[in-house]
């Protein structure tokens, strides 16, 4: 077994589960034995990497107050946007009203005469 192969195995195999060939290589190869020692130190360090810090008695209350505040802020944002929405609706309504021609204007602009001329001319020719 090559050093490279053994180290590949060491990286994925849990402690104590090494195949016989790997164990034999470790007996003979000092560098790989040293690598394994370092890997075990690293694994141990990763296992111990933990900070035991517990929440104080008011943690839940504090976070819940922040959450409630955020919800309120959302509510207030909606309330603050209400006049803007109202103003926008009024402006759009006014524009729609002004842009709509009155019935008398529609009659004046009526293309009926032209259309009649055109129909008569077309049929006549």
């Amino acid at each position: 077994m090559r050093c490279d192969e053994l180290r590949d195995q060491l990286m994925v195999v849990d402690r104590g589960e090494l195949p016989a060939a790997a164990a034999a290589h470790l007996e003979e190869c000092e560098e790989c034995a040293e690598f394994r020692r370092r890997l075990e130190l690293a694994a141990e360090s990763l296992r111990r990497h933990r900070t035991d810090h517990l929440p104080d008695a008011y943690f839940a209350q504090r976070v819940s107050a922040v959450a409630a505040g955020e919800t309120d802020q959302l509510g207030w944002a909606a309330v603050r946007l209400l006049p803007v929405a109202l103003a926008l609706t009024l402006v759009l309504s006014a524009w729609a009203w002004l842009a709509t021609p009155s019935p008398s204007a529609l009659v004046e602009q009526s293309p009926t005469d032209d259309l009649l001329t055109w129909v008569l001319e077309e049929n006549g020719s």
Binding site: R38, L39, L41, S45, H49, T51, P55, A67, T71
Partner: protein, 179 residues
């Protein structure tokens, strides 16, 4: 805990979740109290400073508050919460400047350790946060690739790639270090 009280606490949890969805902050505080220790413990795996742990725990619960409508009760709430917490830890680790973490950890490192152990710990601190995160789940929590994928809500190939990369970097680090 006997079966009856286990069922009782489950239905209590379901009641709290329903109330939280209606925007009840008192129910939310009670829901936090049920799970805060678990969240602190998990965050303590990745962060050394108490204020970092507390901030990431707060972020986890605020995410729960805003995303609770996406929680489907098919899986236990605890699993969903773990997923939210792990993803908050990951996002925070990625954002943090490595130098800050380094300085903080140097202060927190115990001084009675033998040289070799301290040296390896120092090496681990030079890893990218993404790699350290995966290695802490693999070696620290002792989770398999499948377990990590399931608990984080990441795809199996994604975890496999990340785990492979992190292990490779760790190996290079250990090989390159002076004996």
């Amino acid at each position: 805990m006997d079966v009856e009280s286990a069922i009782g606490s489950e239905s209590e949890e379901a009641r709290l979740i329903a109330a939280c969805r209606q925007g009840d902050p008192d129910a939310f505080a009670d829901l936090i109290r049920l799970h805060e220790r678990r969240v602190f413990r998990l965050a303590g795996r990745f962060f050394r400073q108490p204020d970092q742990i507390e901030e990431v725990a707060q972020e986890t619960f605020l995410t729960v508050w805003t995303k609770l409508h996406t929680y489907r009760a098919e899986a236990p709430f605890e699993h969903w919460l773990t997923r939210v917490c792990l993803n908050c830890c990951y996002a925070r680790l990625r954002k943090e400047r490595p130098a800050d973490e380094l300085a903080a950890e140097r202060l927190a490192a115990p001084t009675s350790d033998p040289d070799a152990r301290l040296e390896v710990e120092g090496l681990l601190r030079t890893l990218a946060p993404e790699d350290r995160f995966v290695l802490l789940l693999l070696y620290g929590e002792g989770w398999s690739v499948n377990e990590i994928a399931e608990r984080l809500g990441w795809s199996r190939p994604k975890v496999k790639v990340r785990a492979h990369r992190a292990r490779k970097k760790l190996r290079r680090l250990l090989e390159g270090a002076p004996a």
